[in-house]
Amino acid sequence: MTRFLSLVFLLRGLLAVFAALLIGSVLILAAGADPLTAYGTLFQGAFLDYWGFATTLQIMSPLLLAGLAVVLPLRAGLFNIGAEGQIYIGALFATVIALYVPGLPGPLHILLCSFAGALGGALWALIPALLKAYRRINEIIVTLLLNFVALHFVSFMVGGPMMEPGAPYPYSPEIPESLFLPHLLPRTDAHAGVLVGVVIALVMFAVFHRGTFGFSLDTVARNPDAARYAGISVERHIIVAFLVAGAIAGLAGTFEVLGHRYRLFHAFSQGYGYDGIVVAFLAGLSPLLAIVSALFLAGLRAGASIMQRAVGIETTVIEAIQGLVILFVAVSLAFRYRATEVGRALRRRQEVERALDAESEERES
């Protein structure tokens, strides 16, 4: 019984997805299509079709990186809801280097762009980090508000100083071809950004499980007083966690420009930073599982447009399903509580039985 419960506990991400898809099928029915056909075309298109899978990988890159940018600070008990803004600023920094620093060899220039992008994201994340560490200002509200500032600031930049002359709507000039990221699948959009994401996820896993830094972050979150006592500077760890997270999100923005769009568009991110929250929680905050959940959610998005063409369902259904996923993940978090409740009841039962045994022994003697 307890083993069954711990299994449920482990699989709760899957259960959340299943429940979301189930309710999603009601939505699809309401929109007048057959859910099985719809899901069939969606997943076939996303994972079994060459072009579709390439799109999945392309979307997976920002989702995974944004997800990791949420996972890391949460290890120290901090909510980084600002990946969206860090993506924008990262992309902006990378584009500036790409467009206005000429004469570098391609690979070096790509590295420099990536560095600039990471720096941009990190600097943007430094604002909430400093405010949290030294002024105790709620990092959630600050990161959320900064997202809007970043969104409009990038729009302003590509609608003004950096705008391509004569463009119909705000975007920057194209970056040189030497800066295009290598492609994983020939003739597709699947760029190398996703590999960087996977490598970062693996490193993060190692640091969380065996690294002293991971333990420091854990301790800050579990017991800040004990952390101070152990000689861990809580403020410094808040700042480092946010800086690294911002850098990772900044890379997500960088690779969107270098690998996929080749220009800086206004409002290009379409909520990848928020999707990162779904990725992180669906993965139960594990960097390894984040790879799986990012792949799955990217597949949903990539398959959505294929599904729209095939059965005529609006792609917004995917947004609804994604919303349901995070909602059910939240519901499943209550499982911990329930599981312990049930566990406690089971333990009590054992004790009652032991007591009964003891009583019967007494009677016999």
Binding site: L27, A30, A31, F79, I81, I127, L131, R135, R136, I137, N138, I140, I141, V142, L144, L145, L146, N147, F148, V149, L151, H152, F153, S155, F156, G159, G160, P170, H266, Y274, I277, V278, F281, E314, T316, V317, I318, E319, A320, I321, Q322, G323, L324, I326, L327, V329, A330, V331, L333, A334, Y337, R338
Partner: protein, 312 residues
């Protein structure tokens, strides 16, 4: 630019008030729920749920009151999710709030396509009309600003006063404040902690939804995806800035509304500067207000914390 011109001033103040109305509704909800100890990042989702409900109701009943009613209902539904998960089941209130925001974002985007279809952006829904309060509305400046508004604005003013009186002048308000600061003490005094939090969180859903309804029924007369555009988060900043006091939050919202109005006027006056530059100002101002806050804010002591009686 002649801000001193009386007409301009009246216009500016009027616009400021109208822009702050959705914020004020949401912030009042935020004050109520956070004073009971429940962190309410879901305000954003509740505004959006309210906006969608209002559009749906107005569309179905062809009547703004029907819209307002359905809007409030949807907001209270969203509030109930937060109550069940965050209060009863003890799921982290921040996680729950974020989940609700993303869920409402997705589901309203989907449903609006189904309900309104292609006409979503051209539709003109029935809305509220301004009501002149005779006599009062002819006072210069203040008259048109305060007394030539629609029903929702008068409702907002009444609710702000009501929330204030409730919190500070009634036994239930005292119970709410006690629960938010020290649930264990409130429990020992015989106050149903979870019941109080349920009431506050669901009422907060209704209040925030009225903010969303106002946008639809008094400002734009249609529903568009993601139309809450971070207003819930600005309202949260206003709650902090107003130090969890209903009238303080109201003042903070008016301030934010004033900057929003100023931003619009600057957009109009400096058309050679891309308008996006001015659009980021309200958010920037909110952050700066939080940073510049004199002294440390003292949030309700038990905010965000789950309460269980038998800890052993």
């Amino acid at each position: 630019m002649d801000l001193l011109n009386l007409q301009t001033l009246t216009d500016m103040l009027g616009t400021s008030l109208r822009l702050s109305v959705p914020l004020i509704f949401a912030a009042l909800g935020g004050v109520l729920s956070e004073r009971s100890g429940v962190f309410n990042i879901a305000l954003e989702g509740k505004i959006l749920a309210g906006a969608f409900g209002a559009a749906l109701g107005a569309f179905l009943f062809n009547d703004p009151f029907g819209g307002l009613l359905v809007g409030i209902l949807f907001g209270m539904l969203a509030g109930s999710i937060l109550a069940v998960l965050g209060v009863s089941l003890g799921v982290n209130q921040i996680v729950t709030g974020i989940a609700i925001n993303l869920f409402v974002l997705g589901i309203t985007a989907f449903l609006s396509r189904i309900v309104f279809g292609a006409q979503a952006n051209t539709l003109r829904l029935p809305g509220f009309k301004p009501i002149d309060l005779p006599g009062l509305s002819s006072i210069p400046v203040i008259g048109p600003v305060l007394f030539r508004q629609d029903l929702m604005v008068y409702l907002m003013i009444a609710l702000a006063i009501l929330v204030f009186l409730f919190l500070y002048r009634t036994p239930w308000g005292l119970a709410v404040r006690a629960v938010g600061d020290n649930p264990a003490a409130a429990d020992t005094a015989g106050i149903p902690v979870h019941g109080v939090r349920y009431g506050c969180v669901i009422a907060a859903g209704g209040l925030a939804a009225m903010g969303g309804s106002y946008i639809v029924l008094s400002q734009v007369f249609l529903f568009s995806e993601h139309m809450s555009a971070g207003k819930g988060f600005i309202a949260l900043a206003a709650v902090i800035l107003g130090r969890w006091h209903p009238l303080g939050a109201l003042a903070a919202c008016l301030l934010f509304g004033m900057f929003d109005a100023l931003q619009l006027r600057l957009q109009f006056n400096y058309q050679d500067v891309p308008h996006q530059f001015f659009q980021m100002l309200p958010y920037l101002i909110s952050i700066l207000a939080l940073v510049g806050l004199v002294g440390k804010p003292r949030p309700p002591a038990a905010i965000g914390r789950d309460y269980r009686r038998e800890a052993k």
